[in-house]
Symmetry: C2
Subunit: 225 residues, 2 copies
């Protein structure tokens, strides 16, 4: 086995690209930021990736300490991949990339795939400064995010068998596990505009394009802003 291609530059950015510069790697991280995923889930949410490349990336990422592979408890035995703390620390990289890419996002092309939780990253930025568990309901699906939380993946004691850990992923598919501090219902266009930074979340609420329910302080702040 050849010793893995490297830029061979004594530069931290180049070293980072040695680890995450390969095709698909950062998108796999984006998926895993939503929490532990099975191989098939990853393959389904990354249209275009071939099975062998996905398997190869997951192997490389595990070797580089970005992910761990864990076997799920008996009922439904399968393995899931999840980010380590080191892998979760890539969130700022994806945030920076996402912020830069917003300007070039444009309209959705016919060939573009969409997943509801891909809006989590930009919405997390739109909620910058806020704190709380937010559930987002789109036509495409429901997801949730933890504003103001730092990612902690695969680290710390597993606290029981609840579906949501107190220091779990910063966002995830499906409804929030616990009682959300706020529930946001909005259509795709509005979510897109907010994600692209064209529309401030508070303005969208004021314009009635986002319905905020829930009685947590976060919900109150969003309604009053």
């Amino acid at each position: 086995m050849p010793p893995r291609r490297s830029y061979d530059q004594y530069c931290s950015a180049a070293r980072a690209l040695d680890s995450v510069g390969d095709r698909w790697t950062l998108l796999i991280v984006r998926e895993l930021l939503a929490g532990p995923r099975r191989y098939t889930d990853l393959h389904a949410d990354l249209p275009g990736v071939s099975t062998d490349v996905l398997a190869s990336r997951l192997r490389d990422m595990e070797r580089d300490g970005l992910t761990t592979r864990r076997r799920l408890p008996p009922p439904g035995a399968a393995h899931v991949y999840e980010l380590t703390e080191r892998g979760g620390a890539l969130l700022p990289v994806l945030q920076a990339l996402g912020a830069w890419g917003e300007a070039a996002l444009g309209e959705r092309r016919p060939t573009d795939a969409v997943r509801a939780h891909w809006f989590a990253l930009p919405l997390l930025r739109a909620l910058d400064g806020e704190t709380g568990l937010v559930e987002v309901r789109l036509d495409e699906g429901v997801f949730h995010l933890r504003a103001g939380a730092s990612p902690a993946h695969g680290i710390g004691p597993a606290d029981g068998d609840g579906p949501v850990r107190s220091d779990g992923p910063v966002y995830g598919d499906g409804p929030a596990g616990g009682e959300p501090d706020a529930v946001l219902s909005l259509d795709t266009d509005t979510c897109t505009a907010v994600s692209r930074g064209e529309l401030a979340l508070t303005d969208a609420v004021r314009a009635g394009r986002v319905v905020v329910t829930g009685d947590g302080p976060l919900a109150k702040r969003l309604r009053e802003a």
Copy 2:
């Protein structure tokens, strides 16, 4: 010509990777953040890149609006590549990648290339919050950086023929064009430790491992801190 490989995902991070996800692209941006460069300079400071890949990347980047190609004024007619404002906006991406990669930088390997200005990105982070023109003198060479400046590349009026524009690159090779607010002299080990975040810049100054000269307010602050 096939219409350029894309992830085809309606996600700003994926769109960003469509533009800058190819091998070498972000490292070319890192080089150009130091100011306009000729093809040969780029090729020399990116050991390992093949000539055709470099040319291809530069073409793609120009097409995507990241760079422009300009012909230098008569004495020394050659073209230089420089970042557009959009290209310069990738600085936060490189910062985030660099910050994440610091933890894995480790010791310098025998196969690693080094360039003095590669220390500019981490030092820029180490000088976060400060403002001023800083000249850094290493054994490997001299470079300068503009702490607290936002990058402005290829935009704005060309102000005369001075070697440094008022809103130029955030760092560059060689000595500072104007009178620097501070001059930092340090050895490679110290610079590495600071770059890796193991040693705070102020601590390094206190320990006498960095000699600060100059009488600007920045130099005073660094000496007194």
